[in-house]
């Protein structure tokens, strides 16, 4: 086995009241990586995290930590700490005592506790808040306390369950960068659960995309974004145009009656496929120069770009362009071979 693997899940099955949550999930997590479990709600990402934390017992399957089976180990005996979705801070204790909670349970000397807690509060930027009451803190500050409380125990892995969900957009962006910084500074493994694809792409070394208790794709953010393995991943990560197409032969695909050269091969002749094209990969040209042409249905200003909807061949194409177009105008669209992603037709 790879020595670099810190957590390994093998054939994990979990069901609640007969409903399958995880369906034979296997996953290796490498040491010192920032790994994100990404998927829509109900995809089993939080359950996966709870299995690693020890809060959920799998119906079958094994959990290995540093090569040792830990499926029967209760949470308090695992070298893992968790940042909970709603922070779960102890309101009867102040900031210092919340962070010191785990160290006090280990019966460490007061001097060491004090030093480690203050050090950790400094790392999360709450140095002067030690004596503050938890209830007087803002959401972002509470979140930092929750992170400090978990990290002060020097866990080998930090589990984070949608920790930024309750924060506003600006604070969330700040905390994303902050979390990445802390992970790199402490050089430990972070396993992060989110349904926010942008968050996943921003922070992760590895993204695990899940759906219906099954892993869809594992890869770097670049891989996941540029080379989605199926239409679900393509749709979930960023915006996409997902069309039905026919793979005429290798390197040639027919979309809405027009043939395009592409870089994909290995499909049966005339196999029905899903074609994924990112909105920003479509070039807008005058109508006569375009491979396809269609009528602009709507134009929405999004800040950096305009989101343009174009009707062509009974399909509404979404295009991201920095150039404004007028509604009702006929425009042309060009798509380069590299920008066309062909994948097996999804069954559902």
């Amino acid at each position: 086995m790879d020595n670099n693997i810190i957590v390994s899940l093998k054939d994990i099955v979990v069901d609640f009241d007969g409903e399958t949550i995880l369906n034979g999930l296997s996953l290796d997590i490498h040491d010192k990586e920032f790994v994100t479990l990404l998927g829509p709600s109900g995809c089993g990402k939080t359950t996966t995290l709870r299995i690693i934390g020890g809060f959920q017992q799998p119906k079958s399957g094994s959990v290995f930590f540093d090569g040792k089976e830990i499926a029967d180990l209760p949470p308090y005996k695992r070298e893992v700490n968790t940042v909970f979705q709603k922070y779960a801070l102890f309101s009867h204790l102040n900031v210092f005592e919340n962070v010191a909670f785990g160290l006090r349970l280990k019966k460490l000397p007061d001097q060491e506790i004090k030093q480690r807690v203050l050090e950790m509060l400094e790392i999360v930027g709450l140095k002067n808040f030690a004596r503050r009451d938890i209830n007087t803190l803002s959401g972002g500050q509470q979140q930092r306390v929750a992170i400090a409380r978990a990290l002060v125990n020097h866990p080998k892995i930090l589990l984070l369950d949608e920790p930024l969900g309750a924060l506003d957009l600006k604070l969330r962006k700040e905390m994303q960068i902050e979390l990445k910084r802390i992970q790199q500074a402490l050089n430990i493994t972070f396993i992060y659960v989110t349904h926010d694809q942008e968050e996943a792409l921003t922070m992760s070394d590895t993204v695990v995309v899940m759906k219906g208790g099954i892993i869809q794709q594992i890869g770097t953010p670049q891989d996941i974004y540029n080379e989605p393995v199926n239409a679900f991943v393509a749709d979930f990560i960023g915006e996409s145009n997902i069309l039905d197409g026919i793979m005429v032969r290798d390197f040639l695909v027919e979309i809405n009656g027009t043939q395009f050269t592409c870089v994909d091969k290995g499909f049966n002749p005339n196999e029905l496929v899903n074609v994924v094209i990112r909105p920003e990969d479509i070039e807008v040209v005058p109508a006569i120069q375009g491979q396809l042409s269609g009528v602009v249905k709507s134009v929405v200003f999004k800040g950096v770009h305009y989101e343009i909807t174009v009707e062509q061949g009974g399909f509404d194409w979404i295009i991201h362009s920095t150039q404004k177009q007028n509604v009702g105008e006929l425009i042309g669209m060009n798509i380069g071979p590299e920008e066309i992603h062909i994948m097996k037709r999804m069954r559902d």
Binding site: F55, P74, Y76, V80, Q85, A88, S91, L105
Partner: protein
């Protein structure tokens, strides 16, 4: 500012039926039959000190029993599915729909020398035991009657404790004992003090339970006060003095509990 007016009905009520009677009790406690000021009522109370003491001890023991029984049940209840919580809550409150006197009479016929329990034990050649007219019977009556008053406030504070707090404590290395003492008990302290108040205060001043189940052996301060107003030793001045002292004693006991609760959280800080 308008909001002040909506509490007016209660303020009038309070003035008429709480504040005014309290003043009357104080007045009666410090006057004799002719209405002259006197400390005599108060000084006579020292002879009843054992009765005061017994009342507080019996009520205290009953409160401890209630707390020990109610705490785990309330916790289980608060972690159940919402629909099941409602059913369980109804079962717990159900005895309270039955008349208080009737419930206590029922215990009389159960505990009597030739009551149901002794008859049942008789089949096995055991007993009969002397159960009625003991301190134990009085405590049993109190626990039976007031247990729901302990469960209700405990349950309502515990149901607000998010399960993730318990998981967080475990996550940080706490075993079950740590979770209980360092998270659950401190967070449910408001429920504990309310529950103690709601069991201890009525237990302390009861006279029905002690008269029916305790006989002469567990004569309590409530019986004594009852005698001063309705009994043959009619003396409302002495009765008022007793009530006043009982009130002060109860307040003292309660502030001790609250003080203890505060100290507890103080230590954690």
């Amino acid at each position: 500012m308008k909001k002040k007016y909506i509490s007016a009905p209660y303020l009038v009520w309070m003035a008429l039926f709480i504040f005014a009677p309290l003043c009357l009790v104080v007045y009666f406690a410090f006057t004799d039959k002719r209405g002259n000021f006197t400390f005599e009522n108060m000084s006579r109370l020292s002879t009843y000190a054992p009765v005061f003491l017994r009342s507080i001890i019996l009520a205290g023991v009953a409160t401890v029993f209630c707390l020990v029984m109610a705490y785990p049940v309330s916790y289980m209840l608060s972690r159940m599915k919402a629909s099941r919580q409602k059913i369980m809550m109804m079962i717990i409150i159900m005895p309270m729909w039955m008349n208080f006197l009737l419930r206590t009479y029922a215990w009389m016929s159960l505990l009597e020398r030739n009551g149901l329990i002794n008859k049942f034990l008789g089949f096995f050649g055991v007993g009969p035991f002397n159960m009625i007219n003991t301190n134990g019977a009085v405590i049993l009556g109190m626990v039976y009657n007031y247990l729901p008053f302990m469960i209700l406030p405990l349950y309502s504070t515990m149901v607000k404790i998010d399960h993730s707090l318990i998981e967080a404590a475990q996550d940080l290395g706490g075993n079950l004992y740590d979770v209980l003492t360092k998270v659950l008990i401190p967070l449910s302290m408001p429920g504990i003090t309310t529950g103690i108040t709601m069991v201890f205060v009525p237990s302390c001043s009861t006279f029905v339970i002690s008269r029916m189940l305790g006989g002469d052996s567990a004569f309590m301060i409530g019986d004594l006060i009852d005698l001063q107003f309705l009994g043959n030793s009619y003396n409302p001045h002495l009765g008022s003095a007793m009530s006043l002292v009982l009130m002060v004693l109860v307040l003292l006991c309660m502030s001790l509990t609250n003080g203890f609760a505060d100290d507890d959280s103080e230590v954690m800080l």
